[in-house]
Amino acid sequence: MSELLRKVNIQQAMQAIWTLFKKDLLLEIRQQYSFYGILLYALSTLFVLYLSMDAPEPRVWNGLFWMIQLFICTNAVAKGFLQESRGRWLYYYTLAHPITIVLAKLLFNTILMGFMSLISLILFRLFLGAPFLDPIRFFGIVLLGGISLSLVFSFLAAIAAKAQQNAAILAILGFPLILPQLILLQQISTTQFSGNTDFDLIPVALLIGLDALVVILSTILFPFIWKE
């Protein structure tokens, strides 16, 4: 451990994170099937919902929206760590510090999930209507939700990858653990459906706190699992 905890040069670390992030982005651009796969997943799930019910009431809309977000997130984020082969891990081991690897993955996954959240919000708006009053503010909430979901699932995907498991175990590990965040998110978003304009900041602050906690935990714990 001591060699891992040696003083990390911040600038070098930033550069390493940026390089690893660019690598993930490049992979995503070169192998676009997975990106379109998630997109198609979102679209077809939503279309099934659209055909099975018309214009759900706000409570149902809210529940459905966050459930779909959850499933999109498991699909989008699972790939990040699971795609890395054993050989590639050995290669990273010679090149990079584990903290930079995990931070680069978290960054990439949050951006990917933020993008997916935007798309699924637009799809929901088109197919199932919009019970929320202020679209910009609701988009902010959705973005925050997407980030929270992707942070937790990214680290769990690392665990699942290291356990040499498939994406199924990700759902088993993640669904109970994400429930507190999901409850908070549903609380925040239901306030957006009624006319009252006051916005409760406490749940938002709690969510951001939990997110920070997840990032800190990931950086502390990832060095323990990345080595074989």
Partner: protein
């Protein structure tokens, strides 16, 4: 290696656990309790139901401490301890759910309809949500553990998940009651009950020993399981 930690051989804490539990059962069932509307005699369930949750939280905390110790020292005994303390914690959680369901059936549920009908309304209570989440998380822990064949990798990864889950879970259990409405005693963020305000002093002199007694019993069960595992290991690789 498989040397049993010394405290597991000691008798004094096991005997005091038994004495405390005997006191809990006798004083708990016969002692004076306040007559409260709706609760009446069911309030005696406090010595069993609430203690299960306290015991569960203490055992999970021991489990996570053992997981941290495992990651620091890479000693198999800490891994075994982490696994079995979590196991007994889950047993306590299930018993806590069962005693809670019994209690709710006589207090919260509508007596005119079957209990199963009102269960879905009752289970929405934030404290029950928190309890259900923690049980699910630890079941997932067991699934993850059993899915990894390699012993060292299993120990390492399940220790990491244990720490991650614990650190996410416990703030959440303390937070949720603040943002959701609840029928359960112990408002304002307390996940179980507010010992200072919710129960009378006559009950507290039974309640505190009961918590210690049940926890000691849990530790005893866990140590027995750890010792059996260590013996099994010795048998296969002498």
């Amino acid at each position: 290696m498989s040397q049993v930690p010394r405290y597991m051989h000691r008798h004094w804490w096991k005997i005091s656990g038994i004495i405390l539990l005997a006191y809990t059962i006798i004083a708990g069932l016969l002692g004076p309790v306040p007559r409260l509307p709706l609760l009446q005699e069911t309030i005696r369930n406090l010595y069993f139901h609430v203690c299960m949750w306290f015991g569960m939280m203490i055992l999970f905390t021991v489990s996570v401490v053992q997981a941290i110790l495992y990651l620091r020292k890479m000693d198999r005994r800490h891994d075994l301890a982490s696994r079995h303390f979590a196991g007994v914690g889950m047993l306590y959680g299930l018993l806590g759910y069962a005693t809670g369901a019994l209690w709710a059936a006589y207090t919260w549920a509508d007596p005119n309809i079957p209990f199963a009908e009102s269960f879905s309304t009752i289970a929405r209570d934030p404290k029950l949500i928190g309890a259900a989440i923690s049980l699910l998380v630890y079941f997932a822990y067991l699934v993850l553990r059993d899915s990894i064949p390699d012993i060292d990798r299993r120990a390492r990864i399940s220790a990491v998940y244990n720490i991650f889950a614990y650190v996410i879970l416990f703030p959440a259990i303390w937070i949720l009651p603040r943002v959701l409405e609840s029928l359960h005693p112990g408002q304002d963020g307390n996940p179980a009950l507010d010992v200072k305000n919710d129960i009378s002093s006559g009950m507290r002199i039974v309640f505190y020993p009961a918590v210690i007694g049940w926890t000691l019993l849990g530790v005893w069960i866990a140590t027995l399981r750890i010792r059996t595992e260590l013996l099994k290991e010795k048998q296969y690789n002498p």
